[in-house]
Symmetry: C2
Subunit: 316 residues, 2 copies
């Protein structure tokens, strides 16, 4: 049996696991990131976490096939340099080299969304021979990872696969990146809540206003639950939200035509509601209707995807 160590470095937590070659998690641990601490204490905590987990798995570091870290931001997968990571306020942080020196073992680093895509790709691949996959993560933002020809794709300068910042509505809503109209400004939960709150502000007698008044705020779950129950305003807001996501999938299909598109993130639990709608939207709106649309699936690994993908980076 082969063993791997993976870390998912987030703005809030550093989560890690030791996994085996079947992507089974043997040991998992996490510590708070406390991002305000800056690079060195965080990188040291990552190294410690790896060593602790290896020990708890009754393994030595030599028995670990490969070690990988998924980090937010734009990352050079060859050098392990994090060019920048907004959440962590890092610029040109040499995470790969630092950890490699600290552990005296090669540590691979890649973008967290790419690691999650790789994790889901490996989970899905069992029994299927897919070679290309795109993963769209609908959470606070819109994450994206791309597998082409069985490998994590990250572009010529490792500045790529930020599909959340492709244009959806030029000159449209403000995006977190400073531009207007990106996919993330429409197809993220932040955008959904912005739109729902606008609706409630304009319709203070509505059912959704009652929910907001009762709970102090609206959540994505409130909106999906209400839509699933057939509450008309929520259905309209969620259906429009799904059109934004669907349009992002259609553009991606028209451009890259991947075999599979996986939807992950906070939207996943509502899959029975959104998956049929998304599929028919894509079938009806894609450019080339003469060939089969990509399979659209929902992510199955949840938060473990990034850890498992990171653990297996060396091979992909």
């Amino acid at each position: 049996m082969k063993y791997y160590a993976g870390i998912d470095l987030g703005g809030t937590n550093i989560a890690g696991a030791i996994v085996d070659e079947n992507n089974k998690i043997l040991v998992s641990k996490s510590v708070k990131t406390k991002s305000e601490r800056g690079f060195v204490p965080i990188a040291d905590d990552i190294a410690s976490l790896i060593l602790q987990m290896v020990k708890e798995a009754n393994l030595s570091l030599e028995e670990i096939q490969s070690v990988g870290v998924g980090s937010p931001g734009a990352i050079n997968m060859e050098t392990g340099i994090v060019y920048f990571a907004g959440n962590l306020k890092w610029e040109n942080a040499n995470l790969g080299e630092y950890l490699t020196n600290k552990l005296n073992k090669k540590v691979y680093v890649a973008n967290d969304a790419n690691c999650a895509a790789l994790g889901e790709f490996l989970a899905m691949e069992e029994g299927k021979n897919y070679k290309s996959m795109a993963m769209i993560t609908i959470g606070t933002g819109v994450g994206f990872g791309l597998i082409l020809d069985n490998k994590v794709y990250s572009g010529a300068t490792y500045g790529g696969t930020e599909y959340g910042h492709a244009m959806l509505v030029m000159d449209g809503e403000d995006c977190t990146c400073g531009r207007k109209g990106c996919i993330e400004a429409y197809a993220s939960f932040s955008a959904l809540l912005r739109d729902a709150n606008r609706f409630v502000d304009a319709n203070p007698q509505s059912y959704l206003a009652e929910i907001r008044n009762a709970n102090g705020e609206l959540t994505g779950k409130d909106l999906f639950d209400s839509a699933i129950k057939g509450e008309e305003d929520a259905v309209k807001i969620i259906d429009r939200f799904l059109e934004y996501i669907g349009t992002a999938i259609v553009s991606l299909t028209n451009l890259l035509d991947p075999e599979v598109i996986i939807i992950g993130g906070g939207i996943s639990p509502a899959k029975d509601y959104f998956l049929p709608k998304l599929k028919s939207y894509v079938d009806n709106n894609r450019f080339c209707k003469q060939v089969a649309s990509p399979e659209i699936l929902v992510a199955t690994l949840g938060n473990d995807a990034g850890i498992i993908g990171a653990a297996r980076l060396a091979e992909h």
Copy 2:
């Protein structure tokens, strides 16, 4: 010396050439497509044209390294089936097999925009070691071709690389594909002329109105020439047009981060005007500013690109 035969099948002309391994054209010929004739007479004319050109080059078909055809539409590069080509009104036309049988020699078929991209890629590659390139052709529509890892990329089901039909302004201007807001509905010459004619309709005393009145219509060249001369209204219209193209390039860079982006088509002659503007737009608007932007170049082969790319399909 190795020799290749390439055909660029268009809605108006079937153009072909015999080229050598340095992409030098030895013989070139063309005949009218007369697309209303349907599949068989057109395919027969392609076969005849190839045989005539081979003869004029004082070669035999056996001496030709490979034969390729660039066709409009979505094409399965493995089988040579044209799934559909709107211009030609073909559906599931088995062009590859028909020509292979007719000539008794394997004939490769690919999308014309992909062939043009490959032709430009080969022309550019001399002396440079690029591995990835996207070509955006700004003409009546918006064509697109993609080279990844030295190969023509066309997606899992050969339905891909129709980037002209990725979204730019959701619910925006009507597109030829039946949807609204695609890149082609903003970044093509048809779109530019639509916008310019709207401006003239609303401003009948303007300089551009004078040109339209004098010539009966406006052309893309009129608009670029006027903008180059500094005529204010034309500058505004062209600058907005370049923002549409620039935004399409930014989205593509954020997603795929290719090494080079080549701009081809009718816009090419105005390169001194548009290239600096496009480059600075991309530098200022791309998501990841920590790494170098893709090189943006203007196509150099003109109409020969598709023929040369088709001729070299077998190798890429």
